[in-house]
């Protein structure tokens, strides 16, 4: 083999070899295990902390409230729809209780009159006419809205 060709081939193989070495060193672990991505990223996505605990967890302590809710119109509304968590779900919720004030603005999120909400089974109210200056929970029990409180 002429010296020139040998050198050319050698250089070529060195380049290919260096390319493969670099590629191997910069490709992260587990890349390509299931597809063109880092398989460990699935675990990274799984490891994120959660906030919402789910109704079953709330019921462990608040069975009485759950039973009351189940007996009235808000039965399909889950606890955390209103009681939005303030701390991650792995911490006891007593650390920062998810208390809701039950103001008109809060209840109006679902119950304010809106043309897009009609005929969906959710009562619609004009809060200007319906006790403008009171909080809803002064009369209604939010867990059983038709159990009106006496004043």
């Amino acid at each position: 083999m002429p010296k020139l060709i040998f050198r050319l081939l050698l250089t070529f193989f060195v380049f290919v070899g260096v390319f493969i070495l670099i590629q191997r060193s910069v490709t992260p672990d587990s890349f390509g295990k299931y597809g063109h991505y880092r398989a460990n990223s699935l675990d990274d996505n799984r490891m994120k902390p959660f906030y919402y605990k789910g109704e079953a967890k709330c019921t462990e302590c608040h069975q009485d409230v759950f039973d009351q809710k189940a007996s009235d119109l808000h039965d399909a509304v889950r606890c955390e729809s209103c009681h939005t968590p303030k701390i991650p779900g792995s911490i006891d919720c007593k650390v920062k209780p998810p208390i809701v004030k039950g103001t008109i603005q809060f209840c109006a999120q679902c119950h304010a009159i809106n043309a897009g909400r009609l005929e969906k089974g959710v009562p619609q109210l004009d809060f200007k006419e319906h006790y403008e200056k009171q909080n809803c929970i002064e009369c209604h029990n939010p867990h059983a809205p038709w159990e009106l409180k006496e004043k």
């Binding site: 050698l10 193989f13 060195v14 290919v16 070899g17 493969i20 070495l21 992260p28 890349f31 295990k33 299931y34 597809g35 063109h36 991505y37 880092r38 990223s41 699935l42 990274d44 996505n45 799984r46 490891m47 994120k48 902390p49 959660f50 906030y51 919402y52 789910g54 109704e55 399909a76 509304v77 889950r78 955390e80 729809s81 209103c82 939005t84 968590p85 603005q105 109006a108 999120q109 679902c110 304010a112 809106n114 043309a115 897009g116 909400r117 969906k120 089974g121 959710v122």
Partner: protein, 259 residues
């Protein structure tokens, strides 16, 4: 003597480099076969039929536009509170009597949507919750130059936030506008169906928070799941079917005005 040493050195150098390159090449030749011998093991580990295939149904006949889902999503996934970063949001479509369609979504619907058109002008009005459609043929996955966004074996489009380079090609590629650049992490961010929750057996935060059960989440492969039941009972549609993305978010009661 000096020249001899030089030659010897050069010979040694060539020998070692040839050995190095030869070894690497040999290894790269063996490697594919190695994968063949291992693939059986992996195949059992990740048999697709045993995995769930996650999807979501959205019942527009039930959505009241309270924005609880958008709020819950922000809490659950630490999405910045500014009103232009959303993984999921609710739009209110109002078709006026003169045919004009008004689409609004102030703060993504958080705090409850309010109708801005006077009642006498309205022909019809409805709410449309939007989120990542978790396409089977996802344009964002095709656009990603580094493989930082991908479809997981259980059918969820995820972002690898340690590997994303923040080029925002995927944000441009998404036909549903479901992605955004997270100003804190500086990488692309999107709905993950709350992957950290569904793999623990919990429901996604938006489904958990919905007071009217307008969102139905479940496994498309499990014939007894709520989602399959929802699909059987209702005539559903996906958004932008002409784009052939084969999305896995199904809408019941979708009007033709929805884009």
């Amino acid at each position: 003597m000096g020249t001899e040493r030089k030659i010897n050195n050069r010979r040694k150098f060539f020998q070692t480099s040839a050995a190095l390159v030869g070894g690497t090449l040999l290894y790269s030749l063996i490697k594919p076969f190695e994968a063949l011998s291992q693939s059986k093991e992996e195949a059992t580990k990740i048999a697709k039929e045993d995995l769930p295939l996650w999807g979501m149904g959205v019942d527009l006949e039930r959505c009241v536009g309270c924005g609880k889902c958008a709020e819950a999503c922000k809490i659950e996934n630490n999405v910045p509170k500014e009103p232009f970063y959303f993984r999921t949001w609710v739009e209110q479509y109002t078709v006026k009597k003169d045919g004009e369609v008004k689409i609004e979504s102030p703060n993504g619907g958080i705090g409850g949507l309010k109708q801005s058109v006077p009642d006498e002008d309205i022909f019809k009005s409805f709410m449309v919750p939007k989120l990542c459609n978790h396409c089977t043929k996802a344009p964002c996955v095709q656009a990603c130059p580094v493989g930082a966004t991908f479809i997981s074996p259980d059918g969820v489009v995820l972002v690898d936030d340690t590997y994303c380079i923040g080029c925002s090609y995927c944000i441009q590629a998404c036909p549903y506008g479901a992605r955004f650049m997270n100003p804190v992490t500086k990488v692309a961010d999107k709905c993950t169906f709350c992957y950290h929750r569904i793999t623990k057996g919990l429901l996604p935060a938006c489904v958990e928070a919905c007071p009217t059960d307008a969102r139905i989440f479940g496994d498309l492969r499990n014939k007894e799941s709520d989602l399959v039941k929802f699909l059987q009972e209702n005539p559903t549609q996906v958004l932008k079917p002409h784009l052939n993305t084969h999305s896995r978010v199904f809408y019941n009661g979708l009007s033709s005005e929805v884009k």
